[in-house]
């Protein structure tokens, strides 16, 4: 038995090493490399609590090891009856008081941080964005700037951005681990939070509350750009002409097919707030298709032909006429040419 117990030990040691090598996870996704205010605040508490708890664990483990080694039954002492100790007031008081102190050390900064992250002073003059969760996509509306967009959330760096979040169907949860902890997106009330990204980047966002079959595919991106670039992006988005004819013939066919098939019933281009389906104003700039596929024409055609195979349970399936290959191809061409701004995920470094 000893032999293969050893093997298990080596195996677990190896796997532990492998984990250490894998590091802290993917940059701009992992919470372990915080790049925003909320994530940093959480990380401070994670480190503090881990430190306290590691201390406790070490104490327990050392006592435990000594106890097992010293007091394990020895040869010749099989019948030894130890002294039946009832307890010890002194010892028991010690291990009541010390945990209380340790808990207090954690409790005070926790309470302080809780109030800090709920402090929304500056919200009136700051950037406000209405976030809407839908099965299985995210809509972002900038009420003051009168901009509508979906899936890619543009924010300036170094500034608090205030989010007002609500769901149109079931509960979702807005989570961008590298920038901030999560907040649920409920159907009955508006939840608010603020996020602040320290540096430019394209940050992965995830839905963190089970919302149906495609819960795990409800990804989105937060694109943090410099304040100047953000200003530029806002201007570009505001000056979009939704009726503009595309340049080449295929895309023009695509626009016609888009209109013929009544895609606008759900998908707006421009600042109209109708949001049954994702807003497509800057679709050509999107970092992903359907939230998680590479933004290639091939993928888009695949989506238009059979969205169910990509996102099971999505609301588009069955709610539009069957598109011919040709139509899908031209619509894809048209949509991918919707690039109103030079500020794109690439400008944030993707």
């Amino acid at each position: 038995m000893k032999g293969w117990m050893g093997k298990i030990k080596t195996l677990s040691l190896l796997s532990f090493l492998a984990v250490v090598l894998a590091g802290c996870g993917k940059e701009n996704l992992t919470a372990l490399v915080p790049k925003g205010y909320g994530a940093e605040t959480s990380m401070d508490l994670i480190i503090l609590s881990t430190a306290i708890m590691t201390f406790v664990f070490v104490v327990v483990f050392v006592v435990y090891l000594i106890a097992i080694i010293r007091f394990r039954k020895k040869k010749g002492q099989e019948d030894y009856i130890p002294k039946q100790v009832e307890g010890s007031k002194k010892l028991e008081t010690v291990w009541t008081i010390i945990p209380i102190i340790l808990v207090l050390i954690l409790a005070v900064p926790t309470v302080a941080a809780t109030f800090d992250l709920a402090d929304e002073s500056g919200k009136k003059d700051g950037i406000n964005i209405d976030v809407t969760g839908n099965q299985y996509w995210w809509h972002f509306s900038y009420p003051n700037e009168e901009i509508q967009t979906s899936q890619d959330l543009y924010i300036p760096t170094g500034e608090k951005v205030f989010l007002n979040m609500k769901s149109t169907d079931v509960i979702h949860s807005f989570w961008v681990p590298s920038i901030s902890g999560k907040m649920d997106v409920n159907p009955e009330n508006e939840n608010t939070m603020y996020i602040e990204a320290y540096e430019e980047g394209v940050y992965w966002g995830k839905c963190a509350e089970l919302c149906g079959p495609s819960h795990s595919l409800m990804d989105f991106k937060v694109i943090a750009v410099s304040p100047e670039e953000y200003e530029q992006w806002v201007k570009d988005m505001q000056s979009v002409d939704p009726k503009a004819e595309p340049q080449d013939a295929v895309a023009q066919d695509g626009k016609a097919a888009f209109e013929e098939n009544n895609c606008m019933a759900c998908h707006a281009i421009g600042s109209s707030p109708a949001a049954v389906g994702p807003n497509l104003t800057n679709f050509g700039d999107r970092s992903r298709i359907a939230g998680f596929l590479e933004p290639t024409k091939e993928n888009l055609v695949k989506w238009l032909q059979d969205p169910e195979s990509i996102k099971p349970g999505n609301k588009m399936t069955g709610n539009y006429p069957k598109l011919s290959e040709e139509e899908s191809d031209s619509i894809a061409e048209y949509l991918l040419q919707l690039k109103p701004s030079d500020i794109t995920p690439e400008s944030a470094g993707e």
Binding site: I46, P82, A118, G212
Partner: protein, 617 residues
């Protein structure tokens, strides 16, 4: 009636015996095999989940099926495996530990089991009908109210029926411990397992009704178009979360407190030492239970309850660390200075200490609300509660089974096989779940059907899946051990481990009347006292006389079948009103059996003094 004589009878007779039994020891067997069956089912579901997650963007399971799998895994393990297995041990041991001949309500005890079993089978019927619940074991509304098909209807009715059974079990144990302790068995002389049974029963009593109400509201919304969670008619889906966690958090302590009791017995017995700080242990148990009701909203830090509520619940949750810490240190102090035998049961207890300490630590970390904004609904949480439930509850159940198997079945489980099982299970467990803490922080939310490529989550998930397979092998070995022991296991004496408490004073397995004469209890660890200071035999508290016994009855089974038929009717009546017929027939059967039960006098029977004298000691 020992299993040996049972084997000689025909299968039909044994089946009838178990269908009609009201004997707490046989009901314990039923709970063990019922809970064991569901444990295997939940384990298979777990393996399928881990196979799906063995590599990125895997297509082993479809998205819908995956959601059904996680829902059924969680629901099965909590309600149909862990809790019944604990109820099996409580039923088998607690009455013996207080020197009672049975529980207060033997009939209700049988009814509780059959309701649990048939409710559990009803829930799993959903697999066969192709429509399993898919909204997670927490069934958050409105996802649960809007879930198509009948999956959630099975969830509601299956849990409603099995929950009612559990509630009866709780009330039964409470009354038993209050009224049926042997002479001299004061509250502060009760073994710790009895204490934790008592406190756990209180938790069941006060927690389950909140779930009952939540399930009713969910049922009404889904089947009768009420508007509790319907936002358009002014409903509010957060109410479900509150009701669910007012039940759900105490539920966690329902799972862990009995195990604390088991480990307290195991540490004391195998260290040959009295439990250190008995009084503190008792009060720590009560304190944990009390605080357990004050902290439900720590499952809801991200719901948007505001900083005041979040702070209060964060601090209240951290406070639970204090009594839990007291327990850990008292166990260590029990071992300290002892004469430790590392049996399989003790091995599980020893494995429990570091594993559960990690689970408790991450619990405190989760209590820090702002840190929880990152942990919440990520694999960190998955890791945490598996450390508590596997590292605590499952280790505890396995320790308890190895410890009390001789008392329940008259044979000692094989120690070599037991130890191999432990090591496989122990390493498999840490391999599976330790890495998940990091997966969560690296950005993997829980309940993800697939994780995408290029997110640095591949290796961690692979390791986790391999660990799960190892746990699976451990589980199979345990089953082999059971079969081996049943066939060739060593016959157990009354007291194979040099025990301290009353259950070791009667033969293994005990006679059906438990004690010929009720024992006189002279202190804590009463058998130990008699072994050290007396002749090793319990002093009787009464002269040998006739013993009153309850009659067996088939009514609990019929009643439960009735409720289950009505449940099926409820599930399908929105499709077609003729299913209401099943509701009426089922309720008719159930209420009819209740009426028979209350109209027909049942005075039980007596074992005469002469018969008792004939029985060997």
């Amino acid at each position: 009636m020992s299993t040996a004589t049972a084997q000689k009878r025909g299968f039909g007779a044994v089946l009838w015996d178990y269908l009609t039994t009201v004997d707490h020891k046989k009901i314990a067997h039923l709970y063990l095999f019922g809970g064991g069956f569901f444990f295997i089912l939940g384990g298979l579901e777990a393996l399928l989940i881990r196979i799906q997650l063995i590599k990125p963007e895997n297509d082993f399971l479809s998205a819908g099926l995956y959601n059904e799998m996680i829902t059924m895994h969680g629901t099965t393990m909590i309600f149909l495996a862990a809790m019944p297995l604990l109820l099996a041990l409580m039923n088998a041991i607690m009455p013996l530990q207080i020197g009672a001949r049975d529980v207060a309500f033997p009939f209700l005890n049988a009814l509780g089991f059959w309701l649990f079993m048939l409710g559990g089978l009803l829930l799993n019927l959903s697999w066969i009908m192709g429509d399993a619940p898919d909204s997670g074991w927490t069934a958050y509304t409105p996802l649960a109210t809007e879930s198509p098909g009948h999956g959630l209807d099975y969830y509601v009715l299956g849990l409603q029926i099995s929950g009612a059974g559990t509630l009866m079990g709780g009330i039964n144990f409470l009354a038993t411990i209050v009224t049926m302790r042997a002479p001299g068995m004061t509250y502060m002389r009760m073994p710790l397992f009895t204490w934790t049974t008592f406190v756990t029963s209180t938790l069941i009593l006060f927690a389950f009704p909140a779930l009952t109400v939540g399930l009713f509201l969910l049922m009404f919304d889904r089947m009768f178009d009420s508007a509790f969670f319907d936002v358009t008619l002014g409903g509010n889906s957060i109410i479900w979360q509150h009701l669910f966690w007012i039940f759900g958090h105490p539920e966690v302590y329902i799972l862990i407190l009995p195990v604390f009791g088991i480990f307290s017995e195991v540490f004391a017995t195998f260290s040959k030492k009295r439990l250190f700080g008995y009084t503190a242990m008792v009060f720590a148990t009560m304190l944990i239970a009390f605080l357990g009701f004050m902290v439900w909203a720590h499952h809801m830090f991200t719901v948007g309850l505001g900083p005041v509520a979040n702070s209060i619940f964060a601090v209240a949750t951290m406070a639970i660390a204090v009594p839990t810490g007291i327990k850990i240190f008292n166990w260590l102090a029990t071992m300290w200075g002892g004469n430790i035998t590392v049996s399989t049961a003790m091995l599980y207890a020893l494995g429990f200490i570091p594993s559960f300490t990690i689970g408790g630590m991450t619990g405190v970390m989760l209590a820090s609300s702002v840190a929880d904004y990152q942990y919440h609904d990520s694999y960190f949480v998955v890791a945490h509660f598996h450390y508590v439930i596997v590292g605590g509850t499952v280790f505890g159940i396995l320790a308890g089974l190895h410890y009390w198997w001789p008392k329940m079945f008259g044979r000692v489980l094989n120690e070599t096989l037991g130890k191999i099982t432990f090591w496989l299970f122990f390493f498999g467990f840490h391999l599976t779940f330790f890495i998940q803490h990091f997966l969560g922080l690296m950005g993997m939310p829980r309940r993800y059907w697939v994780f995408l490529k290029d997110q640095d989550l591949d290796l961690g998930n692979l390791i986790s899946s391999l660990g799960a397979l190892l746990m699976g092998v451990g589980g199979i070995l345990f089953l082999i051990n059971i079969i081996y022991t049943a066939a060739k296991g060593e016959k157990a004496s009354a007291d194979p481990f040099d025990g301290r408490t009353l259950e070791w004073a009667v033969s293994s397995p005990p006679p059906y009347y438990n004690f010929k004469q009720l024992p006189l209890v002279r202190g804590l660890d009463s058998l130990w006292i008699e072994k050290r200071e007396g002749n090793g035999k319990l002093k009787p508290a009464e002269p040998l006389g006739d013993v009153h016994m309850p009659n067996g009855s088939i009514l609990p089974f019929i009643m439960s079948v009735g409720f289950t038929i009505a449940g099926v009717g409820f599930i399908y009546q929105p499709d077609n009103r003729t299913w209401l017929l099943a509701v009426f027939i089922g309720m008719g059967i159930a209420l009819g059996s209740m009426l028979i039960r209350s109209l027909k006098d049942d005075h039980g029977y007596y074992i005469s003094k002469e018969e008792l004298e004939k029985e060997a000691d």
